[in-house]
Every structure is written in structure tokens, then in C-alpha cells.
């Protein structure tokens, strides 16, 4: 098949969205990172289910657990923001609504990630 792309377009590799495979690639990177993080969280939550507040705090206070939880929520919210973007791009056709929805999702995911990370830090450093 004849390639209609210009040599410059091929070299840049940015495509019609002007950012190339950046979104696609980060979705894969965060997806792969999510696998071990999710397995750790599922095993931990099942293993600790039914514990009281002090016991959960003691669990989350462990340096390794605090760090893994922070990495988990950061990666999780990044991944789901990328995923929701694709859903919005597919179903929201009005340009203004699309941009407004994406802004709300971006701000919302950053807020949720910040709340989660701050909570972990507060428990990790708190008395």
C-alpha cells in the first residue's frame, strides 16, 4: 500500500493527535506497574480484613507499606485518568463539553491522589 505520509511526518511520528504514542505508552506503563501493586494490595487487604483502626494504622505506618500505598494511588489515579480520557473522547462529541469534562476529571483525579497521599503521609509521620 502506498504511504501517503510525508517523510517529515514519519520521522516525527506524532500522528494526528500531535503527541504520538505518548498517551498509549503511559497507559501501558501504568498498567504494568499496577499489576504487582494491585496484587500486594489485594493480599494485604484480605490478610488484614476485620482489623480495627489502631491495627490498620500500624499496618500502614510500616515504611514499605506507606511507600507502596503512595506509589499505588499515584499510579492508579494516573492510569484511570488516561482511561477515562479515552471514554470521554469516544462518547462526548461536543467540543466544549469534552474539554470541561476532561478538566473536571484531571482536577478530580489529582485531588483524589493528593488526598490519598497526604493521608498516608499523615499516618506515616503522625503520632
Amino acid at each position: 500500500m502506498t504511504d501517503l505520509r510525508t517523510p517529515l511526518s514519519k520521522v516525527r511520528g506524532l500522528g494526528s493527535a500531535k503527541d504520538g504514542t505518548h498517551h498509549w505508552w503511559l497507559q501501558r506503563v501504568t498498567a504494568i506497574a499496577n499489576i504487582p501493586l494491585t496484587i500486594f494490595m489485594v493480599v494485604s487487604f484480605v490478610g488484614n480484613v476485620g482489623k480495627d483502626h489502631a491495627e490498620w494504622v500500624a499496618w500502614l505506618k510500616q515504611p514499605l507499606v506507606s511507600v507502596i500505598m503512595i506509589l499505588f494511588v499515584a499510579n492508579l489515579f494516573y492510569h484511570l485518568r488516561l482511561g477515562l480520557q479515552v471514554v470521554v473522547e469516544d462518547y462526548v462529541h461536543d467540543h466544549g463539553t469534552k474539554i470541561t469534562t476532561m478538566l473536571a476529571i484531571s482536577f478530580g483525579t489529582v485531588l483524589m491522589a493528593a488526598l490519598s497521599i497526604f493521608s498516608v503521609l499523615r499516618i506515616a509521620f503522625g503520632g
Partner: protein
């Protein structure tokens, strides 16, 4: 932007259902459900940092009948999304595009997520001593 009476490309209703189609739709549906689940995780972490009184209230919601149904659903969504996501990673390398392996692995993601969901909940009930 689709406006006026321009013809639209065919959508879901014109295709015959198959495992490959179900797994694709489920990937998006479970992903959206898990976005909601992530907000619940944030709520839980904030509750844990707030104090034992507020935390106990949130735990009360989580362990209520409705709370358990929601968490059971989210467990299934998580397992299904993970299995189907791993299948997508293989497809990214150009594999699983032949009809048979494509359909077989699509069915396997459902088998995996159903079995894992049940195992996780049996394990959780054992840990709580309710089983």
C-alpha cells in the same frame, strides 16, 4: 462531530455477540467502575488518617450488606480488568489476533476473574472467622 443526517458507522447492536466483544465491553465497564472504586479507596485512607471514630463509621458502611455487595462487585471488576488488561498487553505485541486464541483467551479472562473473586472472598471470610 456527527451532525445532521450523515450516515453513522455501525455500533454494538449490529454485531453478533461473542467472547471477544464481551471482554472488550467489560474492560471499559470495569475500568469505569474501578474509577469509582478508587474514590472509595481515597475515602478509606482519609478516614484512617482522620481518627478511629470516623474510621469505624466508614468500616461500618463497608461491612454492611450493601457495602459487601459493592466491594464484591469491585473485586470482580478488578480481577476482570486485570486479566483483560494482561490480554491487551499480549495483543500489543501482535499476538492473539487469530480467531481461536482470541476467543479462547477472552473466555479465560472471565474464568480467571470469577474464580479469583470467589477465592478472595472465601479467604477474606476465613480471615474474619465468619466461615
Amino acid at each position: 462531530m456527527a451532525q445532521g443526517n450523515r450516515p453513522l458507522s455501525p455500533h454494538l447492536q449490529v454485531y453478533r455477540w461473542g467472547a471477544h466483544m464481551a471482554v472488550s465491553i467489560m474492560h471499559r465497564a470495569t475500568g469505569s467502575a474501578l474509577a469509582f472504586g478508587a474514590i472509595l479507596l481515597t475515602w478509606w485512607l482519609v478516614a484512617l488518617a482522620t481518627g478511629h471514630e470516623y474510621f469505624n463509621m466508614v468500616q461500618g458502611y463497608a461491612s454492611s450488606f450493601i457495602g459487601r455487595i459493592v466491594l464484591f462487585g469491585l473485586t470482580f471488576a478488578l480481577m476482570q480488568h486485570m486479566a483483560s488488561g494482561i490480554r491487551h498487553l499480549f495483543m500489543d505485541t501482535g499476538k492473539l489476533y487469530d480467531l481461536k486464541p482470541n476467543s479462547l483467551t477472552a473466555k479465560l479472562t472471565f474464568l480467571f476473574s470469577i474464580v479469583m473473586t470467589l477465592l478472595i472472598w472465601v479467604a477474606a471470610y476465613k480471615v474474619m472467622g465468619e466461615l
